[in-house]
Amino acid sequence: MIWNLDKFECAPAVVTDEGRLVDYTELRCLCDEWAAKVPTRSLVFLLVGNNLDSLVAYVACLNHGIVPLMLDAKIDGQLLQRFIEVYRPDFIWRPGENGYVLEKGLRTSDLGHPELFKDLALLLTTSGSTGSPKLVRQSYENIKANTQSIVEYLKLTSTERPITTLPMNYTYGLSIINSHLAVGATILLTEKSIMQREFWNFFTEQGATSFGGVPYTYEMLDKLMFFRRKLPSLRTMTQAGGKILPTLHQKFAEYAQREGKNFVVMYGQCEATARMSYLPPERALDKVGSMGVVIPGGKFSLIDADGSVINEPDVTGELVYEGANVTLGYAECADDLSKGDERHGRLETGDMAKRDADGFYYIAGRKKRFLKIFGNRVNLDETERLIKGAFPGLDCACGGVDDKMKIFIVVDENHGMESVRDFVAEKTHLNFTAFEIVPVALIPKNASGKTLYSEL
């Protein structure tokens, strides 16, 4: 059991934007009812949105030893089918015409999944957007440990009322739910976006105290002249899901200081359950551009190319994290779900970072070829494969920066530039403005046919 819901009795656990209020006792009852229909150690796909049905199913699974894979309710049908074929779930919880329904898993063979590893609690996608069925395996201990750290450094109490701004199938959105249920706080559930008036009405009426955002969320807030808004109930804004522009960091940190609120920049990965570092809000202004210090219970180190530990300040190396929230490992097929802990509490993040003389960390780059687009990891090589698969004979290479992928293509009369852009947007479920098509005469390659990205 992850959460002791009974402890908070009649304190409000959830308020929905449809006006439904659920207290902790009722939430416990709803979860018990849900779990009664599903045998323990089943594998269930939860197709979620920020609504009560999704939250109940998630909490029920984690509190009753049922293992969910969290997927977006708006997932592409083909991609869902792929996940079903690869992992063979026992049940699928999805929105139907008249509310949520629990379907029997559509078995593509008579084989179910193998026995799930005893500590396996939760499955999340890594870069599901490009169609890779690779999952992160999180344990009960992972979730408990990370929740405990977050509660501690954000000083969360039962008086908090976070409003949802991130999807529940996204590790950051989920960590907000996890940490607030642990302290008996009230989650304000809405599927409205910050671009909608209804979101702000709900925010003000319900007295939201915090929200989280990826870098792009803060760009949108800036566009909406957020700083002009009177939000007396707001206490804390958290940021993760990629590196925020230093100018925006500065702006929001100044706003927070002026208005007596907290702006907390954080860093994490699904592979570390959710969070690994945070910038204490009182340092937000004098450490602009920093992702802060390691969370309580964790340890950072920087490793150079030879594998030795870097002790001097301002030297870039690969960031390595150690802590109880380092997840078990990946799964790429159903058999992997029976695997145990493969990481033993140590995660090579793949991010390059440096530490200043005061011990604050700064992200300097990435070892692996992926971008964060609107907070989502998008693998560049997988995107290339997707394009080449759909447009036979087309040579392409992907690069660019976060929130703006550049797709270099050798244009010929058979493949229009717009069709490639629209295809990638559709496949990744990301807005097409994130993709820029750059026509080139040829893709530079070395003798063995490897793309020379530095020459693009």
Partner: protein
């Protein structure tokens, strides 16, 4: 060019939709018109009409039709 035609052109280029879908375009219902697309659309409108949209108008701008009404409240003629 009349404002309606001009706005329609902005919709086509900013949302990447065919001209015949412009009149019926709606926030969240039109494929590329999500929150990200909305910011892109608002920026494109501000640029081509040389105006700065108020946050309330940005939030109310939910369809082509409503958008046209909103634009009507801005001083576009003198530009």
């Amino acid at each position: 060019m009349a404002n309606k035609e001009k706005l329609a052109e902005v919709f086509v280029s900013a949302l990447g939709i065919p001209p015949e879908e412009v009149e019926a375009a709606e926030f969240k219902a039109t494929r590329q018109w999500d929150s990200v697309g909305h910011v892109n659309l608002m920026n494109a409108i501000e640029e081509s009409f040389d105006i700065s949209l108020e946050p309330d108008d940005i939030m109310d701008f939910k369809s082509f039709k409503v958008g046209l009404e909103i634009l009507g409240r801005y001083d576009l003629e003198s530009r």
